[in-house]
Symmetry: C2
Subunit: 169 residues, 2 copies
Amino acid sequence: MNERAVILDAETKVAERPADHEAELRLWLRLLTCTTLIEGEIRSRLRDTFDVTLPRFDLMAQLDKAPTGMTLGELSKRMMVSNGNVTGLVERLAALNLLERKPSPTDRRAQIVSLTAEGRRTFRAMARTHESWIAEIFAGLARGDIDQLMALLAKTKMSARAAVHGEAA
Amino acid sequence: MNERAVILDAETKVAERPADHEAELRLWLRLLTCTTLIEGEIRSRLRDTFDVTLPRFDLMAQLDKAPTGMTLGELSKRMMVSNGNVTGLVERLAALNLLERKPSPTDRRAQIVSLTAEGRRTFRAMARTHESWIAEIFAGLARGDIDQLMALLAKTKMSARAAVHGEAA
DNA sequence: CGTAAAAATTTTAAGCTTAAAATATTTCAG
DNA sequence: CTGAAATATTTTAAGCTTAAAATTTTTACG
């Protein structure tokens, strides 16, 4: 007759009540809102100030951390995006002389991608400004807040990873 | 000669040292990683289980909260996406009979969008499962963790909003 | 060696997303 | 009332993103 008020039969092992997880849902929405807000602001400033997209900036950031370059697959894994996505981004950045592709000496299927001198110079300049934007955006948090958030997000990441990979405990 | 070791001229009012904001930068990357991880999992489950995309689910969620419907502009604002984006999403959902568009009785420029009966039924079913996924993903957090995170993210959102709108304090 | 499975990458098709320009309508000052 | 500014929406062009299929090369088993 109705959905939630039924007194469950004694046979029922685990009560099948809706078990509302409102708190988790609200947390997820807030997390998403925060990230979307900040990401949008960074995206907008990158475009207006440096005429670059966030995915391109992210890709260059990965390469900047790997002086000897890395394969497309490695890039894909670190950026958490699909292989085909990286193919296109690398294509466009290469056309701008910001990075170069060289065949892997050990595997003819793979390519090694690395920043050009110009790419490195360009990225470093953008990164400096980017860091100051991040500082500005998080300026309302005290040092202790940041530490607490870091710890809680680490816990969140572990929890999410457990759900993403096998449900296995 | 070098970038950061120069002893600054006595005239220099505020030292222009890099003032590294490494902590904020790491926090931002962790926030982004968490959100990307969870969002990807939800996206994947929505596709596999209900053959629906996350943007469509989000749009339907907004409409479900507004029984009398809302305009495209209102939807755009609440979803934090562009107007043109909403136009396309609504187009595709309308083609599936999940929502309907009616001209606003008071403004001939605007349309009122609302879920159809089928759309509402479909959304409610998906939402129930979606909530259980979220609970699963955040299962590793204790109740206290959730409350702390909520509070810290509220603070983060306020800080970000201050940076997004006028720098004005 | 020969071949089947695995791995790295690209291609394809579809959909999402945005900024900017264009269109249509409303509001409001004079 | 009239025209200018504001508002709601759509269109356009470009780029991002994914999943799935296709291609090329490597690995490894027998």
